[in-house]
Symmetry: C2
Subunit: 615 residues, 2 copies
């Protein structure tokens, strides 16, 4: 991996670039829209495998393409602009002027550098609705939809991949076709069962879809806080998270410089970016929740929609009557947005402006195609509080709001918990599907126990895999630092890999037709002792190689037909290969031959003995 280091500017901007090991970027063109180029990663295998390269879903954007010119100060290529303009329903306009409060009134050396390039924002022409749901419901297949269909299929049919459905698969009522067509994408979006987060002001993003009839997706949270980190670090965290597989990134920055930080992130992001606009609105009223107003919030929505935020977490389901239900909880309200709105509701003793102005919010969303991520402000913060009346009351309200958003053809996903013991996870999923009319579910974990701070990527990875299997469409990662501190680069990677595991385990269990191809390729590599292939096919090739090399560092060991766990004599894989030869050649006949040539069985071991002895 290379690190691209641009030092010509006041702030050093370093991001990770270069392909992953043995990997090539390939682009697949569209049929209906020949100019679309869907990125995929091809992992080459050792010639001895005599196997095709393995194609995998690729979220990393141009950063892993050695042919791509990356200039963090210009931003990524705005490929989608042409598609958007071709629809003829948008207009460029001056846009809202940036205010000092957008950056928390930071000035001088405390003000983060502005992004150097200015783009005039787009919005829907008067009377138009530019959401993918609008098009879908009008029967229109957009380039975004074909892009997604190609991306989800991973060229299985074209490559003649011998994929099969697991006959014991259980998808709990999902409906994953063998092949995703653009028309299927359209239908799913039209029905509200999937969303395509794709703000018209974020044309740098590569289209992707969130829905339970597609591959399970993951989200990585980044963002500076009042306490730590810089713009450059956050941009690199975004690039880094997508390098390892984050499908979406949420920028949860608080404190100063929110606007400028976000601009750098969006302009350089090939994945959709989500935010929680109430965080910035709160900064604008100096952190006093009760001073929040609809006007400040509305202004913040427009600010962020013009920048290109693809989805907004909006905690419009925190109703006044639910708030007292949290008083007897062990951990009260743990959602930041939820607690802010609860405080506002209590102070003013009325329903929040998010709820009372919900239709106006929809009007804004549809002018830019911002998707709702309806926030679970009352999610449980502990095992003790899971599935209580506050949480489920809010979920029912989110179902009502979903219907309102859909009336406006605005795309919606629903956020979910949180801390939930395993026995209560399916109850959450089933209730969400029912109450929210099959709108995609997007959960944080859930964490299946509270007793392991420092390992909450694991406590939650367990819950995430399960709820992904049960039907959750996107899993918001949790890093090892959860509850303890802000994640650093390594934490982000561990969080992403853990959630790729959860999402993939869910795809396998749901019987996704192509999911097992990579498992099988890696298993064959394992059986054949193709160590390099085993590393390269891993979700984290660097870590796999590093761990192997700790005990068997030499290059000769990369072809060794054993590993450090068992040594050559005990290698079951080796013995197993002999068993296979037996079976291939007829057992009785071979039993005799085996006795004759028995001494030769360990020839390979002897050949490897030198490597072994030199350890």
């Amino acid at each position: 991996m290379d690190v691209m280091n641009i030092e010509s500017k006041p702030e050093k901007m370093e991001v990770s670039t270069g392909p992953l090991p043995a990997s090539r970027k390939v682009y697949v063109s569209g049929t209906e829209f020949p100019d679309i180029k869907v990125p995929m990663r091809e992992i080459d295998l050792h010639p001895s495998a005599n196997e095709k390269p393995v194609r995998v879903y690729d979220t990393s954007g141009p950063y892993t393409d050695p042919q791509a010119k990356i200039d963090m100060y210009k931003g990524l290529e705005r490929k989608r602009t042409a598609w958007i303009k071709a629809r003829g329903d948008v207009e460029e306009y001056e846009g809202r002027e940036i205010k000092a409060e957008d950056n928390g009134n930071a000035s001088g050396k405390y003000l983060a550098e502005e992004f150097p390039v200015k783009h005039r924002p787009l919005r829907a022409k008067a009377g138009q609705n530019v959401t993918q749901m609008e098009y879908a419901r009008r029967g229109i297949i957009t380039p975004e939809m074909e892009f997604i269909a190609i991306r989800e299929n991973m060229s299985r049919a074209e490559l003649g991949e011998d994929y099969k459905r697991d006959e014991y698969a259980e998808d709990f009522g999902a409906n994953i076709p063998d092949e995703i067509t653009p028309e299927f994408v359209r239908q799913e979006v039209a029905e509200g069962r999937a969303i395509i987060p794709a703000n018209i002001n974020h044309p740098e993003a590569e289209p992707m879809i969130i829905g339970r009839n597609f591959l399970v997706k993951i989200n990585a949270n980044i963002g500076n806080s009042a306490v730590a980190s810089s713009v450059g670090e956050e941009v690199e965290k975004m690039v880094w998270a997508t390098r390892w597989g984050a499908d979406n990134v949420m920028d949860l920055s608080t404190g100063r410089n929110i606007h400028n930080t976000r601009e750098w992130i969006i302009r350089n992001s090939a994945v959709p970016i989500g935010t929680v606009p109430i965080y910035q609105a709160l900064e604008k009223v100096n952190g006093v929740a009760e001073d929040l107003t609809w006007e400040v919030f509305r202004d913040t929505l427009i600010e962020q929609a013009e920048q290109g935020v693809d989805y907004f977490t909006i905690h419009a389901g925190v109703l006044l009557r639910y708030v007292p239900m949290t008083a007897k909880r062990v951990t009260g309200i743990v959602s930041r947005g939820g607690s802010i709105m609860a405080k506002w509701c209590l102070f003013h003793h009325k329903e929040s402006f998010l709820y009372t102005h919900f239709e106006e919010i929809c009007e804004i969303m549809k002018a830019y195609d911002v998707s709702f991520s309806l926030g679970d402000g009352l999610r449980p913060g502990s095992i003790a509080d899971a599935n209580d009346e506050a949480q489920f009351g809010e979920l029912e309200t989110l179902g009502e709001l979903t219907k309102i958003a859909w009336k406006h053809n605005v795309q919606v996903m629903i956020e979910g918990p949180g801390h939930v013991s395993m026995n209560k996870i399916k109850i959450n999923m089933d209730k969400q599907l029912k109450e929210c009319h099959e709108a995609p579910f997007y959960t944080l974990g859930p964490l299946t126990t509270d007793i392991a701070p420092g390992y909450d990527h694991i406590t939650s990875g367990i819950g995430a895999a399960m709820i992904g299997w049960f039907g959750c469409a996107m899993l918001c990662y949790v890093t090892p630092k959860e509850h303890l501190g802000l994640p650093d680069r390594e934490d982000v990677k561990v969080g992403v890999i853990t959630y790729k595991i959860a999402a993939h385990a869910a795809d396998l269990a749901k019987g996704h037709p192509g999911a097992q191809l990579r498992d099988d390729a890696l298993s064959r590599a394992r059986f054949d002792f193709r160590w390099e292939d085993q590393f390269n096919l891993a979700l984290d090739p660097e870590k796999a190689r590093e761990f192997h090399d700790q005990t068997m560092p030499k290059e000769a060991h990369k072809v060794a037909h054993f590993c450090s766990m068992c040594g050559p004599k005990f290698c079951s894989m080796k013995i197993s290969q002999e068993v296979r030869q037996f079976a291939d050649n007829g057992m009785a006949e071979m039993a005799e031959k085996f006795k004759e040539t028995g001494a030769e069985l360990y020839q390979t071991v002897d050949a490897n003995k030198k490597a072994n002895d030199s350890l």
Copy 2:
């Protein structure tokens, strides 16, 4: 943590000792057997909590008791010897003479130091059967059984803990009582639904139980290989693994010095030790599987039984007719024991001596109370091979062997996979319960995907939590090094903590009556910003503290009412506490008062501002 370093001997023997943070060792006496002392760990909370200390299950042995005298060269106190001798059914005898082949013919500087103290072994007197199952079926409650009852209850009733069953708990037909009585332990052992691995020659071990109506247990594997590690390292791995919560340890050593390494481990182990005797037997025939004989194997069983091994993995279910079924697998046979036996069967074209001499094996087991861990030699090594005819054929045979062992009143658990996607895990559990007549299940993971070498503690932790929930009694850990190398100390810890998470998540989901007490105590600490308590109640207090201190290192921050994730303004816990006050005092009345005193709400934040600014 202290490191006890004894340098007076040729090999340096360092083990980890000293209590965990804020923890005290307490011992609870028996009622029927007043001399038994059941160890528990009490975690003290901050005085401001006004809460009782939290008692947790303690596997760490005397190493965490500052009062205990530890001498690695003498071994742990042999507390159980008196109980065993009191039963009047054992005899001391000379025992088998140690042979050069027991240590792989190592000599001179290559021979690991012998353990300095020799104990004459015990065995059942002629015609006697000394298994816990024998006693249980005769209606006898042993001291081991009362010890276990006390240990499983964690003094909940005596301490007046306000525990409750989760009304949504799902135990899939398990039968976990509110309180475990010695009689319940006896019944479960008599029925074969639980085992107490307790070789009469391992009187140093603290009794524990494996069964689905008890707390879910975990096993850690250690052991040197031909390629790496020393006796001292392995003994420390055992101590280290139990320090973090391993209920059992398997010594999977191969290569030379197996006998001497094992003696050091057993004499110093407070948890049951398991082995796979075929590994040592294979060393005795120079690694040539087909040269294995019943005589060599039998001699090895006696050697290990006399040393005190508590359970033997025996792959007696690998039948000749199953072996060809593995030929078309993606990864063949991945169990070392399984592949050794498969090769033997093929070579000789007959059923293995493990199967044909099974009743003789039972005779040996019952003379020492060694438990069977019936090995799954044909477990799947990849997602592709899960639940196939070879695996399930063997499982059916293990069910038949279980009946035979039970005829001898020998305790049995059944080993299980392996690599299994989530949708196939419950099928495994249900089939095991049915085919093996509810004998306890003991699984390796299972790993829910193959694509993440370097993270297989996580791919398998997901499967382990689920199968634990479904009824698996003991979960064999997988470390991050699985498939790549031998685990080091840090890997062992990560593996153990991951599996403690899985086991605990399973206990919660099953509705174990006391499991949630620790979660609730930690959640209350979290809500109250009792950082020290949060660390101390964590499964890994060191890691939790280390992560917190990376962003907020100062002692002042340990009382800060916020953390680095959100900073003071966005702290939902803080706001939530205000909401709770509101609710306590009647909302309408408080709304007015709140407005008046609103300015004071952030007083605490201001108080903390100095700490924040100094970051």
